[in-house]
Symmetry: C2
Subunit: 483 residues, 2 copies
């Protein structure tokens, strides 16, 4: 032990002599990396400059683009089609259909993850991480299911979603009929408490406050030296996309564009804080979104309320099984560990995040349940070119709409936009995503063999539900799995 | 003179001592820059990695992406909607409606630019440039209208277009009915001659040969020291997108993706040649496309023949007045002169290229005719943030379909894809392109004031045609403008 200490010392001396940044590298070996996971709301694949949007779509995103140039940028990162399932899948490593969180909950039914579910925050917390969440939760609005019940030492934000802030403007809205949305705050081991009503004014300043609290959390942990997991689900750019007062008019292209500029600015503030505190080198930063952009209305126009964002070359918007719904931007930076400036079209799913970050952080993944995520560490670190995933079933709500496998997509239902009824197809449609991003050319003939692996994926999933039955939506606590 | 020579010498000495690349910078001041203008065929806005495509759409484009990172990348570079008009506008600085080249010519009618038109090649040639064109011309298929008649010292390529290579596979094709396509070769002052028939085998190897000849031209001029203008209209990725034999299977995603990879490779070969010959510093390199991607068929699927490429977030494909038709990728690199790594959404039109390059090269722009292009030198060089253009009329064929002005688009016709009939609208539709790339939300109410500047643009154009009448398509030589 002493001898090895000596070696480290002399390496450090050499580093100092040659002006090398040895300290962070040494730290990386010595200390678990911090994790900052920034999740935006309803930001389409095509919106960022790094994804072909940015200035072309009304709002430059220089800070996130630079983050992309310093890390790995995925073009085939997949999420679930809606806010609630996507966040559930991220937190649990399980497809949301397993935990009864497969859709945004309707008003007044028991919602969110049962007490039995284990989140990545619980896992990282058990592995010694300080954990915090600031932002939108949407996977449980009652005590026992809030972030401070699910592994976060502290949290501040909204238990449900941003459009509820519009209720206060709604004709005849009666707080005794539907409980108004509140901003909550809570600490582990304590009951969360209401801070203030989440109205349109609060909606505007929400992300500024989330960022402020995030930086405070980072600063506290920089002092304590404890590794930390910061989960920052920003409320932008979900409708109503109302920017903070100091961003109104920033782009000259209206509220939605200003909200995108605000989002980029907040990401920059987080990155600046990491730099200022000399934490960047030993911090994994992820920037991603929960699902595709908000859909156009039935009338063929963009709603003045919905963000009408861009999915780039991909067809469709959120709440569908189309690529525009499922593909989200995903950037991961970890200096010296994740290759810088790399772009990959390898398939990754948001359920993979739990096992991957757990592996990197030396944390545990539950063994007593079905975990759909696969460990992508080697892929993220550039030690292998291929990801460890080649397919997954696509549920929208509780309907198995499609299967994605390699470059292929097999659709069992027709659903062009969220406001249409899903129509079951007699003959599945097969698309080659590598050359048909608009999913408009059914190449089932001569590629009907592709249905075989799709059926295999479905079969494996169904087989797993025999051992681990699906938890129905609305299941009350305590949930006890059958023996 | 002697004194100034001394100063240069000592600066050069300092440069050598510190390993600085001083010589090219000195050359740039002393010598007119070379110009390499690479024009691809039917490559959509969204296809390159730098524009959000690349590996996500089946073919990485590392060389062109790197070029973008070294230069200025435009997200609002506009072209005409078809091959012939776009090339005509580029060559003359005039909207194609003026010169009777507003559409791809039908078989057997007099086609192309009249002898009266003056091209950028004629202008640069008169200013002392060596000029060459290798590739697809498509603005004049008979003697007097070929590249060697229009300012190019030498040329090799096809006078018309690539799909004619399929004629030889067509049932009942009779060469006596429609003259088969030939590859031609010609020198200034001489008559062009036929090299070989342009069949599908030649189609495959065409761009390899164009690149080889381009590099030979560059090498010859590197020796002579004469400034040169290389116009390289590659035949990829026009249908049939058949890659060169050494690119078949390169991407694993079929012929079209392989053709994109081949295109990127050829661009890389040109850039490597410039590096090897120490010409990169004093050479302006442009990479762009003539129009949007090829359209889907009427049946809603992608034709197995058409490339079905991506326009990124923009709606529509070529031969329409939609953004997917009009916006082309555009990258310009000129080390030390054009800002590196800059992205701009400022509006530029391909007619602007003639006056801009003429200004930079110290060449003349004709004064005896309507020139639609505006000088964009200050914008390209980063001396002003804004471009010098804020609008233009959009003709598709001889129909005035729309006007683009600032962030607005006013449509007078409805045309979703090339194979539909254009339908005249009673009430113009108004779109805000900054926030509605899919042109799906008519915001004429409350923005009907936008029709005013649109009408003004049309009025100014029509006024100019009184002095300089439009030249009808099919006008034979010699054309003499009315006094």
């Amino acid at each position: 032990m002493k001898w090895s200490g000596k070696i480290n010392l002399s390496l450090a001396t050499i580093a100092v002599l040659f002006g090398m940044a040895m300290v962070p590298a040494a730290k990386a070996q010595a200390k678990k990396p911090n994790i900052v996971y920034i999740l935006t709301d309803n930001l389409g694949w095509g919106e960022l400059g790094a994804y072909g949007g940015g200035v072309a779509l009304g709002a430059p995103t220089p800070r996130i683009d630079k983050l992309a140039s310093e890390g790995l940028r995925l073009t085939n990162f997949n999420v679930e089609a809606q806010c609630t399932p996507s966040r559930s899948a991220l937190m649990t490593g399980r497809f949301a259909i397993r935990s009864g969180t497969y859709a945004v909950p309707l008003g007044g039914v028991p919602e969110g993850l049962t007490g039995w579910e284990i989140t990545i925050a619980q896992s990282l917390s058990a592995a010694g991480y300080a954990t915090a969440m600031y932002g939108k939760w949407h996977i449980g609005g009652v005590d026992g299911r809030l972030p401070n019940d699910k592994g976060f030492d502290e949290w501040y934000g909204i238990p449900r979603t941003t459009d509820e802030a519009m209720w206060f403007q709604s004709k005849g809205y009666d707080e005794s009929i539907a409980k108004p949305p509140y901003i909550l705050e809570g600490k582990k081991g304590e009951k969360s408490h209401e801070v203030t009503k989440y109205d349109l004014q609060q909606r505007r300043i929400m992300d500024t406050e989330l960022t402020r609290r995030s930086i405070d959390f980072i600063e506290r942990n920089a002092k304590s030296g404890k590794p930390f997991f910061l989960y920052l689900p920003l409320t932008q750019v979900h409708y109503p996309s109302l920017p903070a007062p100091d961003f109104v008019g920033k782009t000259g292209h209206g509220d939605y564009a200003d909200s995108k500029a605000e989002m980029d600015h907040h990401v920059g503030e987080i990155l600046d804080a990491l730099d200022r505190l000399s934490l960047s080198q030993n911090t994994i930063v992820v920037f991603t979104s929960d699902n595709g952009p908000e859909p156009p209305t039935q009338l063929g126009g963009i709603s003045p309320i919905l963000n009408g964002g861009s999915a780039g070359p991909w067809r469709g918007a959120m709440f569908t099984a189309l690529e525009g719904s499922l593909r989200a931007p995903f950037i991961i930076r970890w200096p010296g560990q994740v290759p810088a400036g790399k772009v990959s079209d390898e398939m990754v799913h948001c359920v993979d995040i739990f096992p991957t970050l757990a592996r990197i952080a030396g944390a545990a993944v539950p063994q007593d349940r079905a975990i759909d995520g696969v460990d992508q560490t080697e892929f993220f670190l550039g030690k292998q070119e291929k990801s460890n995933r080649d397919g997954f079933p696509v549920y929208v709500g509780d309907i198995l709409m499609a299967v994605k496998w390699r470059n292929w997509k097999v659709h069992f239902y027709l659903l062009d936009q969220a406001t249409d009824p899903p129509l079951k197809l007699l003959i599945p449609r097969v698309y080659d995503l590598d050359i048909d991003p608009k999913e408009q050319r059914d190449v089932g003939y001569p590629n009907s063999w592709v249905v075989y692996p799709a059926v295999k994926i479905i079969g494996a999933f169904q087989e797993s539900t025999k051992k681990y039955p699906l938890i129905p939506m609305g299941t009350p606590d305590p949930y006890v799995p059958p023996k």
